[in-house]
């Protein structure tokens, strides 16, 4: 599977698009979406919430399991994807696109994996 080169990744299988650090987009990877199975519910942080890297900030629930969402960076939530709340299967159908979860005004420089390092990480999983 191809992980877009322009994104940063976490070992918790989230991706971050830092093109605009004032509104960095966060989602889960295709690897995560495939492992979860059909996503039926997502609980996202509220707009204005302060995030701390590595701390749980929401939930993503599939038919078979529930997983925490972890903040991939320090910052403040500036927008959430209402479409994915209404239509959680977007996480499965377009994890790197319409299935994005929320946007963060990032504080500082988050430590993320590049696409190659993330691909290596999922190989070991």
């Amino acid at each position: 599977m191809s992980n877009p080169e322009n994104l940063g990744y976490t070992t918790d299988h989230e991706w971050v698009d830092l093109a605009d650090p004032a509104a960095a987009t966060v989602g889960v990877t295709k690897y995560a979406a495939d492992a979860l199975g059909d996503v039926v519910y997502v609980q996202l942080p509220e707009v204005g919430a302060t995030l701390t890297t590595g701390e749980a900030c929401g939930e993503i629930e599939s038919t078979k399991s529930v997983s925490d969402l972890f903040a991939p960076a320090d910052g403040v939530v500036v927008e959430i994807n209402e479409a994915v709340v209404d239509t959680p299967e977007l996480v499965n159908t377009d994890p790197f696109g319409d299935g994005w979860l929320f946007r963060v005004r990032v504080d500082g420089e988050p430590e993320l994996l590049d696409a190659a390092a993330y691909a290596e990480h999922t190989k070991e999983d």
């Binding site: 199975g37 629930e61 078979k64």
Partner: protein, 366 residues
Amino acid sequence: MSTPSPLHSVHEALGASFTDFAGWSMPLRYGSELAEHKAVRTASGLFDLSHMGEIELTGPEAAQALDFALVGKLSAVKPGKARYTMICDAEGGVLDDLVVYRLAADKYMVVANASNAATVAAALRERAEGFAVEVNDRSAELALIAVQGPTSTAIIGSVTDADLDALAYYASVPSAIGGIDVLLARTGYTGEDGFEVYVDGAQAPRIWELLTEAGQEHGLLPAGLACRDTLRLEAGMPLYGNELSASFTPFDAGLGRVVKFEKPGGFVGKEALERRRDADVETKVLVGLVGSGKRAPRHGYAVVDAEGTQVGTVTSGALSPTLGHPIAMAYVPVAVSEPGTALSVDIRGTSAPVEVVKLPFYQRQA
């Protein structure tokens, strides 16, 4: 290393995700488990259940041996029919729930859950001692393929000469598919009409192929264990390890009807089960719970009463794909087990209101 099913390469070619289940590597899903679930409710699903255990008992005293070994009265089952029953330990605890097919006057096939197949085979061997019967564990060599759903009759009807109108629910008949000998049974674990095909493992890929071809015009989708679990949950069917275990008797699970005390001779667990039947004690019973919203109560979550006291534990739960709301099963005290009782479930720190309902959650239109 987990054991691959005889159909493993077929599943790989279909792009299945696999899961380790009771020592077997089995398909979890092929694509979307929700689509597979829906196919079973509205068309049909094709399942590989080769992990299930099959133990044959053959001999003039096969019926008597099973009457002693199991809680049911298997001697009363006519050849060609099947029965849902259980095997208990001496304390009445459930060792496994079983489907037993009577294949002939002197021949039965006991179908056990994969996780318990070895235990059941060993218990049957031990309990059959002194009876004129041979116990033969065929789990490793037999494959099991199920076609479940409203279009299953049309699919099976197009590949066999068997008279399906004459094949009642919980009956079986020796048949052939594409010239291959099979045992064709009208049984299942999905809450739909459906068939189960027992066949020699080496022939399983050909049977799968023939069923796939026959199913093309009937909406048949390959379906994995993920949807099998949500299907059985909607149908209110217990899963061993969740609703059933050696620490519960069949009565606790609301399945006391499977215990037949009126049979000649004793049976393993009889005294303990009589005590449980007659005991006037506060015990927990299995109930259905329904919620609202999208967050599902899951296995292990606490069930809480109006005063905030934990009264039970969820055994299985999911957001019902068919009904669209959360459903769960749980053991709760008799006092709060009446349908309509308001309880709540602690969903990871949030209290979610649920209502006790009668099982099953879903019943197909007859």
